[in-house]
Subunit: 140 residues, 2 copies
DNA sequence: CTTTGTGCAAACGATTTGCAGGATG
DNA sequence: CATCCTGCAAATCGTTTGCACAAAG
């Protein structure tokens, strides 16, 4: 049985990406967190203990990962591009107060009927963004 | 009965905004189009015939309009902030091919039941983003 | 006449790019 | 060993800011 590390390596290779320490680190970091970090968040995290990656490399790793569909971006805030290793369909909750973003599993919300939309559009999918205040911000 | 112009002037005044030619032009332009333009799109449009506004003024007008809730931003594309004078609840359709964004009236989609979400969140609202290919791009 | 808005240019922050050296398959 | 990646620094893009002048109420 393969370790988590091997699985990540295999995933990168299967998509035709060379496995480098930096690229591995970026993807592993993103897989290990659920807070939808920005490129800079990831960079800081990786370099926390010791400098291992440069800014440009994090950006290029993210772009490479995005091109092979291992990572996607989440845009729910002005001027901020966040990243997500969860590429399957799911919804988002965004706290208006602190800006935190949480995933909402697809099954949590009932499926929408899109038949009512213009028949001239070829529909590929949809996603719901819920606005509100998270538990942490309510008590403060 | 008041003209369209008077209505816009009244709206700006009622929100406590001074009515200047530039601010008026930005809001009128946004009201008159449904393509969710960027700040720069608006600027080019306003200055098409003759220069009337500067870049900084368009940005500051948009911010002023946003603060009094006459205008909102739409974030569906990386690195691009678009604006919308339709501030009521509605959904969006985004063409994956050309990036065009169309409004979907709220009533078009059935209301979602959000009871299934975490009771620890205070829900304020939601919005659906539909992905697909617009009619124009399908025939190309 | 006081307050607020405008325009210019410089500043800014996030992201991208060019390029020389280094690592990967 | 050919190809692709990394890191640095400079470039770029959208947006913001400082400030002197002008316009609105």
């Amino acid at each position: 049985m393969s370790s988590q590390t091997d699985q990540i390596v295999a995933k990168l290779k299967s998509r035709g990406l060379r496995v480098t320490p930096q690229r591995f680190a970026v993807y592993a970091n993103l897989l290990g967190r659920c807070d939808h970090p920005t490129a800079d968040d990831i960079l800081s995290d990786l370099n926390q203990a010791a400098p291992t990656s440069s800014q440009a490399t994090v950006y290029s790793s993210l772009q490479a990962l995005r091109e092979v569909n291992l990572v996607r971006e989440v845009l729910l805030e002005e001027g901020v591009c966040r990243y997500d290793a969860n590429v399957g369909p799911h919804h988002h909750f965004r706290c208006q107060s602190c800006g935190a973003i949480a995933d909402i599993p697809w099954e949590t919300l009932a499926s929408l009927n899109l038949q009512t939309l213009s028949p001239r559009w070829q529909i590929e999918g949809y996603e719901v963004t819920v606005r509100g205040v998270c538990d942490r911000c309510q008590t403060q």
